[in-house]
Amino acid sequence: MSHALGIDVGGTFTDFVAYDRVNKKVEVWKELSTPTDPVVGIIGGLGRYKSNDAAAVEHIRLGTTVATNAILERKGAVVAYVTTKGFKDVIFVQRGNRKYHYDASWVKPNPLAKRRHCFELDERIDAYGNVLKPLDEAEVRALGEQIKANPEIQAVAVCTLFSYLNPVHEQRIKEILTEVLPDLPISISYEVLPKWKEYERASTVLADAYLKPVVSRQMGSMRKRLDEAGFQAPTVVIKSNGGEMTLDAAAEAPVNLVVSGPTGGVIASRHVAKLTGIDHLVTLDMGGTSTDVSVILDGQERFTTAFEIEWGVPIQIPIIDIRTIGAGGGSIAWIDKGGMLRVGPQSAGANPGPACYGKGDLPTVTDANVLLGRIDPDNFLGGRMRLDVERARKAVASVAEALGQDVDETALAIVRIANNNMVGALRSVLIEGGLDPRDFTLSTFGGAGPLHVGELMVEMGIPKGIVPNHPGQFSAYGFILTQARVDRQRTAQLTSNRFDKARAAAIMQSLVDEAKAQLTDQGFSDEIKLTRALEMRYLGQNYELELTVDESTLSPEADIEQLWEAFHAAHKARFGFNTKGDIIEIVNFAVTAISDSAVPEIPKLERATSAPEPMGRRSVGYAQGRFEVDVHDRDRLLAGHVLEGPVIVEEAASVTVVCPGQRLTVDDYGHLLIDTIQA
């Protein structure tokens, strides 16, 4: 009972990482995914586990795409939506804005319920939380019967006005409907997201109900088939907040699974940050069709409540803030009507794939990397796939001709424009979020990320880079490092000019109790760590700054002025100005509870006693021209090895490209650290 398994189900591959706690060994492998029934791929991969001893497995942590796919493909449940009289159309009216400024062909997205399945109850709570019109229980029962009479309906979502201030109606609706409809899952907004703004809350609770039947089915089937395969170890899934939850809890609150797999890369990055003593990391996970960007600040991942299923359809639970752009190795280069070379957003995807894969003819970023000598056509994916250089050249030549440039120049331009697309994503998470790139280290992983690390550092003005271990299975690797985590938030407005500290303290305490209970109910009782935060703003503003507070901030003896001062200071730091003396409003209360389970100890690499031996040399194109560079095998590098750029490091799942003026150092754990020696 000493092995922890991390499994990440991706579109093409299912990645596996096993950590042996006794021998401190990490094992990684891949299995082809089985999209129609992902459990098949999981069980298949487990069968290839080298230390194939199911009994030795003490813990399985799983990144799942079941919720993500059900939403993307709109294959969730038929949901009945129940709300306050007069307001069933809130989910169709939405917010009135549109996705594009100038596109007469844009089609507004639909909510996750049909209008014919929307129902109203004659009840009302006002903006102070007072009951204006009491709930009519007979009406609720009648509605339950009406829903029961419709065999199509598979789940119920309830969102009534101002329930975040007073949940009494929603709670009673749930009780009654549960009696009348014992077989239907029921989600109420107070439990899923007790925050203001009825459309956003409704959209979130709808997603929860929409996912319940399908997630519940898959979690049940997963447990059963793992048991049958002999893996009886406790199994958990990874939530969108990067924490783990049991399969049962996931089935109860599936909205927490909308982003599961990609959080692993962020969690792993947080761990890398801790091991290497780096405070601020920006992560770039680049694959074939998309790139995910995220930030670790002061050793902590960041969260957002602005997630959207598609534009305009929000899910506002706290989710690790991962920005995804449609740019990857497969992004296609083309020339627009103004004669400009563009890269993406169209992608050659996995099929036909880049021209060099031998099927397509359109030039992609990967083709450009092959022509620049950055990817070795004979050693792609550890030599498992031979690339067609001539086909890549022909594809890039088609664009080069139109530009009147040679192929090499064009290949370089393609890579630089692709880099610029990624710089756009980096800018949006760093600079637009008020963070200075010069304080960061760029962590790249995914098959294509390390190819671009050196140039992105230059373009973005990020002084340091890192290519962690297992960049090709980094999310699964993150899962062996994750912890159980619960986030609870609630809207309750209080202002500084008439502040009710006792009420604030009571709200905070109730959130603490809820969060703790959710962890202990799932059996996570190891040392629970709590974080409390207040979301605050000047009265009239509409966006909040989150201030972390401690237990004593709201205690009877605390000086509350210190809290207001802290807010003025935070506003000045984030936005460059503040308005001292103005009324401050507390809007949301937030509590995070983390169960601190034991973290694996990552093995160290042997120390180098001599200079590294390159496995070859080849010509590689950079912005400064072509260079003959050494090519190293990552598996043969040892701790303390230093390589001066330009240089290339190859491994089975990726290639690291270091630019002239940069230096690569192998640290004690085998991470490739890159820094800038001359700009």
Partner: protein, 644 residues
């Protein structure tokens, strides 16, 4: 423009008789009086050809230039070699800076029209006043930006600017849109050289004037519409000009809120200047200047390629605005688009004479609306800088509803007339690109504004909220339900925010069945909201339209349903309108109606026009529409002949 000798005030706003642009210098005189004054020989020639009854356009078009622009050569000398990669990088970097400015504004501003409505825009301009980048926030301001920047650049001599200065400006007659739209300009310098401006335009909800919230439906002069600010410095060398602040804040009903919004806008231009200065330092001044020129040339090439793909011809379209709030007569808005090769001249000269009420558009609004309409039917990925507008020339003679003369009222021009002008431009373009055109959307922002004394906060409140209506049908798709009129892209206030902020109650928020115009591709639905006045009286005003005529259809579809504003007085159970309760001329445009506790106001938005013959509609779609309640059985039968 004739200024007083000391430059303290404008004596006369002189405009080109052909295109309506302000004429700052001598201009070109062909005769006495306003009819004999032109901005350029091109406008003289255009006018002479019309006078002779000739129909052919004067091509290629020559864009008008303000006197200050004469200092800049028309064809720039290359300072650095063309570098496509740098262009690409610089473009996305500058757009990102503008977006960052906008995010700061959204997150720090105080009024809901900013932070929920996002009724603002941020841009960067070069030292010639050309817009070099902008972020997509409010479209009306994006189109209006180039003219606004140039006018300001003309009036404030560059040698009077120093680092840390910030200019404020909202004069609608000088490139502006309407008084609430406040523009902040902050120049940026590198090594002492002025290289351009960070600019931000935003809607300040309360600026004094006859009604809380500025939308005075009965205004007959600009003075009814709030405080007008000529280009002045509100910051000098990084220090507040206290006198200006005090003057402005003394003229609003909600000084705390307005102060918060104005501060946020200053925060935004400060940020823009910081960021762009770093970029210029990184690439060097010459590369920066050259790349800006290359980017504008590139955007111009992209736009020309789009226009060239349409067949040459004159494409005309017109519509009516139902009344101006003062007299109950309709006003015509009309456009003739002269497409020739890769250029367009948009002539609004057939529109009605200037109205007495506030529906007039400024030249900035009409220009922005023309750009907006054309951008809707061309490639959306063209960079939005001054270059992409070079192949488009807007002619909007003064004294018309499409180019208001001082001191005519105009507050609704920006929100009501703008979308209607953009819609007729799209309607005209349907003649040459039917697949990309859309039948008329609701075309109104509803603009019900109100204010009162808040019972909880001991503070005056004012609210400007926007409602959205149906989009028109387009080939292949029904119109979207409830989307903001195309001049803006605002989000409306959630009920839970609205009731928390204001002592009113929202009783419903419902789609209006059957409001989408019938068609092969149906118009989208409008919606309605009922506001219930609770404990304190409110003073309400409105500047809207489409209460009498529904949005126009295309290609044999039917009009969308008109919207409306109804009132139910406390203690009654009958819906009526302010025409009856308060003797107002119009139900869509009125000022200072006091609603007492217990009164209800029902706001209804219009549905979109239909596209194509309703009889051609797929019966499956009709069946689904009935099942979802978008149309009634009755309409299925009467409008579509559907019996299934």
């Amino acid at each position: 423009m004739r200024m007083s000798e000391n430059g303290f005030y404008v004596e006369k706003y002189n405009k080109c008789a052909c295109c309506g642009l302000l004429v700052y210098g001598e201009g070109v005189r062909t005769g006495p009086g306003p009819k004999g004054l032109f901005c350029s020989p091109w406008c003289v020639e255009w006018t002479e050809r019309r006078a002779k009854g000739e129909d052919d356009p004067v091509m290629p078009i020559v864009q008008p230039k303000l006197p200050f622009e004469a200092a800049y050569p028309s064809k720039h000398e290359r300072l650095a070699p063309l570098d496509m990669v740098t262009m690409n990088i610089m473009d996305s970097t500058m757009v990102s800076i503008c977006r960052e400015m906008g995010i700061l504004l959204m997150k720090t501003s105080y009024s809901t029209i900013f932070n929920e409505g996002l009724d603002f825009t941020c841009a960067l301009a070069d030292a010639k006043g050309d817009m070099i980048a902008c972020a997509e926030f409010c479209p009306t301001m994006i189109g209006g930006m180039p003219l606004l920047i140039k006018t300001c650049a003309q009036e404030i001599p560059f040698d009077t600017l120093s680092e840390g200065d910030i200019l404020l400006h909202n004069d609608p007659y000088r490139g502006g849109l309407h008084c609430p739209e406040h523009t902040f300009f902050k120049p940026f310098f590198v090594d002492g050289e002025l290289l351009g401006f960070a600019v931000c335009i935003g809607h300040i909800a309360e600026i004094g004037g006859m009604v809380p919230g500025a939308f005075c439906g009965e205004a007959t002069e600009i003075f009814h519409e709030g405080m007008r600010v000529p280009p002045v410095k509100i910051m000098k060398a990084g220090k507040d000009v206290e006198e200006v602040w005090k003057l402005i804040l003394a003229n609003t009903r909600t000084p705390r809120q307005s102060y918060g919004d104005l501060r946020a806008m200053i925060g935004a231009v400060d940020l823009g200047v910081d960021r762009i200065t770093q970029i210029v330092r990184k690439y060097g001044k010459d590369v920066f200047k050259q790349t800006c020129e290359d980017l504008m040339d590139y955007a111009e090439r992209r736009m020309r390629a789009e226009i060239a793909a349409f067949a040459d011809g004159v494409y005309s379209f017109e519509d009516v605005i139902e009344n101006d709030g003062i007299t109950n007569t309709p006003y015509t808005i009309a456009v003739d688009l002269h497409l020739h090769g890769d250029e367009i001249v948009a002539d609004f000269g057939r529109s009605s004479k200037q109205a007495r009420g506030p529906i007039n558009a400024t030249l900035g609004v009409t220009t922005g609306a023309t750009y907006n309409g054309i951008l809707h039917v061309t490639d959306a990925s063209i960079p939005k800088n001054s270059g992409c507008f070079r192949p488009i020339r807007v002619l909007s003679p003064p004294g018309h509803v499409t180019n208001v003369d001082y001191p005519g009222p105009l507050v609704a021009g920006n929100t009501e007339t703008h979308p209607r002008l953009a819609d007729i431009v799209i309607g005209a373009m349907a003649g040459c690109t039917p697949d990309r055109a859309m039948a008329s959307e609701s075309g109104t922002s509803t603009n019900f504004v109100f204010g009162g004394d808040h019972p909880d906060h001991d503070e005056y409140f004012a609210c400007y909220d926007i409602m959205s209506g149906g989009w028109g049908g387009r080939k292949g798709h029904d119109g979207n339900n409830t989307v903001n009129a195309i001049n803006g892209n605002c989000r409306f206030n959630p009920t839970e925010v609205f009731e928390t902020r204001f002592p009113l109650r929202v009783e419903n928020c419902e789609l209006v069945q059957d409001s989408g115009g019938a068609g092969q591709w149906r118009g989208g639905l409008g919606y309605k909201r009922t506001l219930y006045v609770t404990t304190v009286p409110i003073t309400g005003s409105q500047c809207s339209d489409r209460h009498e005529t529904g949005p126009f259809p295309l290609f044999g579809g039917e009009r969308g349903a008109a919207g409306g504003t109804k009132v139910m007085k406390a203690g009654t159970d009958r819906w009526t309108t302010v025409r009856e309760t308060n003797n107002k001329v119009s139900s869509s445009k009125y000022a200072n109606v006091v609603f007492e506790p217990g009164d209800r106001i029902l706001l209804i938005t219009a549905g979109g026009g239909g596209y194509g013959d309703p009889k051609q509609r797929d019966p499956e779609l009709i069946r689904e529409d009935v099942a979802e309640g978008y149309i009634s059985q009755e309409q299925a039968r009467s409008a579509y002949g559907f019996t299934g």
